[in-house]
């Protein structure tokens, strides 16, 4: 007896979708396989198609678990199609790959097997993070591994599931803006937050409790629930901001200031002011804003932070949405706590570099590396190397690190005096081609990140 006609059709349809997927996978050029995380996904999809197809062939409609198995295959096929889209968007020809490896390195102290896939976002919604991805990946892996027919080598490959697989998006129009890509640290922060389940405790200020209780009886539950959802969503954003500062220092703050100097609050994101307040506290705690000890190449930073916080202030009490207003007041009251929790986590996992931590390996003078890198940029040289002189007077160069490289780039770009000095490398008199200078600065920073990556890979093969 064959299967019911409908069931036959369902299975043929599924089989056809899997074959289409396989064809589409093979159509992606071999180039894509050289982006590490894209290659991992590519292999995972290939192995999963094999596993799921075999399962589909062997499933018997008479089995008790038939319905569950087929529905599961349908779900996984949908997920595989979605994953294929990310592989296509994460092609190395388009995405600056050097920054991807550097970001993966930063996350490694927290999640050693972490992977980051940077994709393009074609909508103007800027940088983004795909939250639900980890579960989808696990669903695919579970389904593929369950089948015995999977070749052991492939099974082994599939079993190497990353601790964190963050898919982050950068706006297609900003592909060459390497300095702005410090904003990716915020998106990585979301991944860390999810993996480590960081949820800082917050305290309700009296005013907020009072106002919540004033809601009419029929509305109280709705207002409370909206308030909770909004506060939690905004808190997650703030924790990601705090972690981004832990990872990269002032660079993510500067990126946010350039990208959204005065953003209104939304369902998912708090207003810029709240985010700047939080980042300002983090920068203070990490010794970037201590008035008596500001590093010379970051002398512009305290003023910029003050300008960002003051310039983004809006009359919260006049916001029409009560829940937005209360969530803002609630989280503003807890900015210190959120910053403390995130930084304490970073310190414990040794990912919080801070001003001292970053440079401890380089020299006694904590600011020496960044200072050197700024000098290199001002001589049109990529900021990729930190020079050290050993006790015996020998010069021993070291590769610069991503935080120092990005902050050196910002130190040149954000300081009007240095920026003018940089532009005048390329033209005499008043600056007329600032766009060209900006492109050249991005080139130098990108080359530095790339060089560090190449050196590391080269050293690893030695």
């Amino acid at each position: 007896m064959g299967a019911e006609p409908n069931e036959d059709h369902r299975r043929r349809e599924l089989s056809f979708r899997l074959r289409t997927l396989e064809r589409a996978l093979l159509d992606i050029g071999p180039q894509v396989r050289w982006a590490r995380s894209a290659r991992f996904l590519w292999n995972l999809i290939r192995v999963s198609i094999g596993g799921v197809s075999a399962q589909l062939r062997s499933v018997d409609p008479a089995d008790v678990e038939y319905e569950d198995t087929v529905s599961n295959i349908e779900t996984v096929t949908d997920v595989l199609h979605a994953l294929l889209g990310y592989v296509e968007e994460g092609q190395p020809e388009r995405v600056p790959q050097a920054i991807v490896s550097a970001l993966e390195d930063l996350v490694r102290p927290i999640a050693p097997k972490s992977r980051v896939l940077v994709c393009y976002d074609w909508t103007p919604s800027n940088y983004g993070y795909l939250e639900a991805f980890r579960e989808e990946l696990n669903a695919v892996v579970r389904t593929s591994v369950r089948h015995d027919a999977v070749d052991p080598k492939s099974q082994e490959a599939v079993n190497v599931v990353p601790d964190m697989f963050a898919i982050v998006f950068l706006p297609a129009a900003e592909q060459d803006s390497v300095l702005l890509h410090a904003a990716l640290a915020h998106e990585i922060g979301h991944g860390i937050c999810e993996v480590a389940a960081i949820d800082p405790p917050t305290v309700m200020p009296d005013g907020v409790v009072g106002e919540l209780m004033e809601a009419e009886d029929g509305e109280l539950l709705g207002v409370l629930s909206d308030f909770y959802v909004r506060s939690q969503a905004w808190k997650r954003e703030l924790v990601a901001d705090a972690l981004s500062v832990c990872l990269l220092g002032p660079a993510p703050f500067m990126s946010l200031y350039r990208l959204a100097p005065n953003a209104e609050p939304s369902e998912t994101h708090p207003d810029s002011n709240l985010r700047f307040q939080l980042m300002s506290v983090c920068l203070k705690k990490l010794c970037f804003l201590n008035e008596d000890n500001v590093p010379p190449d970051l002398s512009w930073l305290p003023d910029t932070v003050t300008r960002a916080v003051e310039g983004s202030q809006s009359a919260v009490e006049n916001w029409p949405d009560q829940v937005f207003r209360l969530a803002h007041t609630h989280l503003e009251h807890n900015v210190e706590r959120i910053a403390e929790t995130a930084i304490a986590f970073g310190m414990e996992k040794s990912c919080a570099f801070g001003r001292d931590g970053w440079d401890a390996d380089y020299a006694q003078d904590a600011d020496a590396p960044r200072h050197q890198l700024v000098r290199r940029i001002l001589h049109a040289v990529p900021p990729d190397t930190v020079e050290r002189v050993t006790d015996k007077g020998m010069r021993q160069d070291q590769a610069a690190r991503l935080p120092a490289i990005l902050n050196a780039g910002w130190a040149v770009y954000a300081d009007p005096k240095r920026w003018l000095q940089f532009c005048q490398i390329f033209e005499d008199g008043p600056v007329q081609h600032e766009f060209e200078s900006r492109r050249k600065l991005q080139n130098l920073v990108l080359k530095a990140i790339d060089t560090v990556n190449v050196k590391r890979e080269w050293g690893a093969t030695a």
Partner: protein
């Protein structure tokens, strides 16, 4: 005067203002050939291929720059990847090393003889001006009969450095800060305008010569 390997090394240890910068040097001891007075350069990860299907011909006088840009297709090859250059194929590539020359020296980038012997031409525009900053663009062409697989980080070219008799003021256009192969404008704007005027004139005269 061509600098010896040791002189190149000394120049690379000068203060930043007057230093010869070549970065990254993945194997400094192997890349700086002391006896030969040159420094080996590696192949970078970015290539540019010409797409002949897009243009009927290259006409730098009549064509706009953006038309020429459409004629070129960038290709990125990851570390460990391969770029296959087929017989008679032409491609632009760049050195992995970013080079900055001080204003006291000029340089020549030349292909390594081992590659020339299998028919691979590596650089055609070989002179590097004093004060140049950026990765060096290489013009690759396979004159042999067999496809050649190229891998990023391969030592493919060499740089000889020459002292110039009198240090010059740096020409700022030489500070390109390029990080991949560059396809510059084929001619300057005034030159193009003049040639275009000549071209129109010629066309008009030809039309006037018609007997009908």
């Amino acid at each position: 005067m061509i600098l010896t390997g040791q002189e190149i090394l000394d120049l690379m240890c000068e203060p930043l203002e007057t230093r010869l910068v070549i970065t990254p040097l993945l194997d400094p001891n192997e890349q700086v050939v002391t006896g030969a007075g040159s420094i080996d350069l590696r192949l970078g990860q970015d290539f540019v291929l010409a797409d002949p299907a897009v243009l009927s011909s290259l006409d730098p006088v009549k064509q706009e720059e953006n038309e020429l840009a459409g004629y070129l297709r960038p290709v990125h090859v990851g570390l460990g990847g391969r770029f296959v250059l087929h017989p008679r194929q032409f491609a632009l590539a760049a050195t992995l090393e970013y080079v900055r020359l001080p204003n006291t020296v000029a340089a020549h980038v030349i292909g390594r003889s081992r590659w020339a012997r299998v028919g691979l031409i590596i650089a055609m525009a070989t002179f590097v001006h004093p004060g140049y900053s950026g990765c060096l663009t290489l013009e690759l062409q396979n004159l042999g009969d067999c496809p050649i697989e190229l891998t990023p980080c391969l030592t493919i070219a060499q740089l000889t450095v020459e002292k110039i008799s009198k240090p010059q003021e740096i020409d700022k256009s030489q500070i390109s800060c390029s990080v991949g192969p560059e396809f510059r404008t084929l001619m300057t704007s005034p030159e193009r305008d003049r040639l275009l005027a000549l071209h129109r004139n010629h066309k008009k005269l030809s039309a006037d010569d018609q007997p009908w």
